[in-house]
């Protein structure tokens, strides 16, 4: 047993909820949990994040739903899922029985729908946190995505917060496709978000030069994978600089422990693994191990000491990010 004692104290906190370690699965990238559990014990992760759960079952988008891009993946799955009732009936209990820490991602077309989802989750056992996927079109605002608008995001977060048990943190998941991610982050925190998760996929398009048509049936899709990591690190950096007290789940292109470490040094206290799971079913546990080794190799005794460290060079104040690289 003593071999299992980690060299580094990997515990982290999503607001007041302690996680055994900072590595989680990313929403929509780890199925129901059952699929991955054929490869490893999901309980070894800090948490499992569900796909985004919607009120009604959703068939999603037509195929082709994905295409490979340089160091990335463009996808338009369209939140295919069974709806909240089936989730509560079949998926959540399976996770709860195995004591898998579960972050439930929710998505809706209106504030009311998000709120109704959160209400349905309020009594369900086994909900570690609620992640509000704000990258959903707001049917009351001509389909404008909530995440693009600080006020709309804040409204969703506030309403979800108000119907959620005090001991279940509400995490707002932000998109990078905004002019000012700090403004949206601040609005969400002011609205009651206990933590932030970033980034959701930036929007991209690929054209198939043989069919002369978009490669995805949905035309546009979300870009993920290593290609977007610099954008994710940038968002985490900016938001951590502006709101240093707010826990951040870093997401975007994490394939290795070094990548996870990058997000942590930029200010994330947890890291979600998405696209990497498609390439390597064991990615999340491998990354956890690599991260622990990387911390140990650099003399860290606690993960917490590395969070945001890149902002504070020895002997100087924290550096500010300028908006332009030019």
């Amino acid at each position: 047993m003593s071999l299992d004692v980690p060299a580094v104290d990997m515990r982290t906190y999503l607001a007041h909820v302690e996680l055994a370690n900072p590595v989680t699965t990313a929403a929509g990238c780890a199925g129901t949990g059952r699929e991955l559990s054929q490869f490893f014990d999901l309980g070894r992760l800090g948490a499992h994040t569900t796909r985004t759960i919607t009120m009604a079952p959703r068939a999603g988008r037509p195929t082709p739903r994905m295409t490979e891009t340089p160091s990335g993946l463009l996808n338009a799955v369209g939140l295919q899922g069974p709806g909240i009732e089936a989730f509560l009936g079949r998926e959540l209990p399976w996770l709860a029985q195995r004591s898998i820490r579960t972050v439930v991602s929710i998505g809706g077309g209106s504030v009311a729908e998000y709120t109704a989802l959160a209400r349905r989750l309020a009594d369900a056992p086994g909900v570690t946190a609620i992640e509000v996927n704000l990258a959903c079109p707001n049917i009351e605002d001509r389909g404008r995505v909530f995440a693009r608008d600080g006020a709309a995001s804040a409204e969703v977060v506030a309403s979800v917060r108000s119907v959620t048990r005090y001991d279940v943190p509400v995490v707002a998941k932000l998109s990078p496709d905004v002019t000012d991610v700090v403004a949206v982050a601040r609005a969400c925190v002011d609205g009651g978000a206990d933590a932030l998760s970033m980034i959701n996929n930036p929007l991209g398009v690929c054209i198939d030069v043989d069919t002369l048509r978009p490669a995805l049936a949905a035309v546009s899709g979300g870009l993920s994978g290593p290609a977007v990591r610099p954008l994710a690190v940038r968002c985490v950096w900016q938001v951590h600089a502006a709101l240093p007290g707010v826990p951040i789940v870093g997401v975007g292109g994490v394939m290795t422990g070094r990548d996870a470490f990058e997000l942590i040094l930029a200010g994330a206290c947890a890291v979600a693994v998405g696209t990497a799971l498609f390439h390597d079913p064991l990615a999340a546990v491998r990354i956890l191990k690599e991260l622990e080794d990387a911390l140990a190799a650099r003399g860290f005794q606690r993960l917490a000491d590395a969070v945001g460290l890149a902002h504070r060079p020895p002997g100087s104040g924290s550096r500010h990010l300028e908006e332009s690289s030019l």
Binding site: R51, A56, A59, Q80, E85, A86, M255, F278
Partner: protein
């Protein structure tokens, strides 16, 4: 899992790779597939490539053979592998072909490299004393895979090519009714392009015999977590769902697959936009 390439060879238009992979060989059942990481260290390709397992042998603790058609950069990379290179494999994946309990007459239909998956199946069927007949087709002679082996293994083998360069000119579905009649087929197994599977299924429906198809859909993960490989399939309850080719398939009952609606969300599918259709069937 890491496998070492034992041999590579050209087979007509294809590249055959034999890889030492005991863990996969051991658990393999006909119809399973494997996913392979491509591009090597530092590659820009982030997704694996799905390959059917053509052959499994006991040598070196267990080898698997793949047959690769070069399509894009990933398959081109695979075709460049040489003996002693290593491959990163995940598998076996998917649901294998269901085998009949009784010794029935089986027609195995393969299109292009889709035939590759049929030989292990033929062995398993013959071990159960089933009769096996082959119908193999492709666009041209060099793309018909496994004709010799089919001739050796099957009672009869019928070949078709669209350009007439080998066997009969035409498509497998053109000759299939004749074969089904001649051999008194009880069941059809098929693997190949979607258009072929649709036509083969239609033949099965005409003759009122079951068709087991192994479908091919673009896959990002192969393990059921990404939801990119879906197609509309009718469930036991009569409800159409967008199911995963990788984890719920790749083998389906042909008549359950809504081939005409592949690439769409049928309006009556569970959870289709508008909330119509079978969504109501769900509580």
């Amino acid at each position: 899992m890491t496998g070492t390439v034992l041999t590579t060879r050209r087979v007509d238009a294809y590249h055959a790779l034999t890889v030492v992979a005991p863990g996969i060989a051991e658990r393999f059942r006909p119809g399973h597939f494997v996913s392979v990481s491509v591009g090597g260290p530092g590659t820009s390709m982030v997704t694996r490539r799905a390959l059917a397992v053509h052959d499994v042998k006991p040598d070196y603790g267990g080898t698997v053979e793949f047959v690769v058609a070069v399509r894009g950069p990933g398959t081109a990379w695979l075709a460049d592998r040489r003996a002693r290179d290593t491959l990163d494999l995940v598998g076996p994946l998917g649901r294998p072909f269901p085998l009949p309990r009784d010794p029935v007459n089986c027609v195995l239909v393969g299109g292009e490299y889709g035939s590759a998956t049929l030989f292990a199946l033929a062995d398993a069927l013959q071990r159960r004393h089933c009769r096996v007949d082959f119908v193999l087709g492709a666009a041209a002679a060099d793309r018909v895979f496994g004709a010799l082996r089919a001739r050796r293994v099957g009672e009869t083998t019928t070949l078709t090519t669209e350009d007439g360069s080998l066997g009969l000119r035409g498509r497998v579905a053109d000759v299939l009714p004749g074969v089904v009649t001649d051999v008194h087929a009880d069941v059809i197994y098929a693997c190949g392009p979607m258009a072929m599977l649709r036509e083969v299924t239609a033949v099965g429906i005409d003759f009122d015999i079951p068709v087991q198809v192994a479908v091919e859909e673009a896959m990002a993960c192969g393990i059921g977590v990404c939801m990119t490989c879906v197609l509309p399939v009718i469930g036991d309850d009569g409800v159409t769902r967008m199911v995963r080719a990788c984890a719920d398939g790749p083998v389906f009952r042909g008549e359950r697959v809504r081939f005409e609606d592949v690439g769409t969300i049928p309006f009556d599918a569970l959870g289709a936009p508008g909330g119509g259709g079978s969504a109501r069937h769900v509580t």
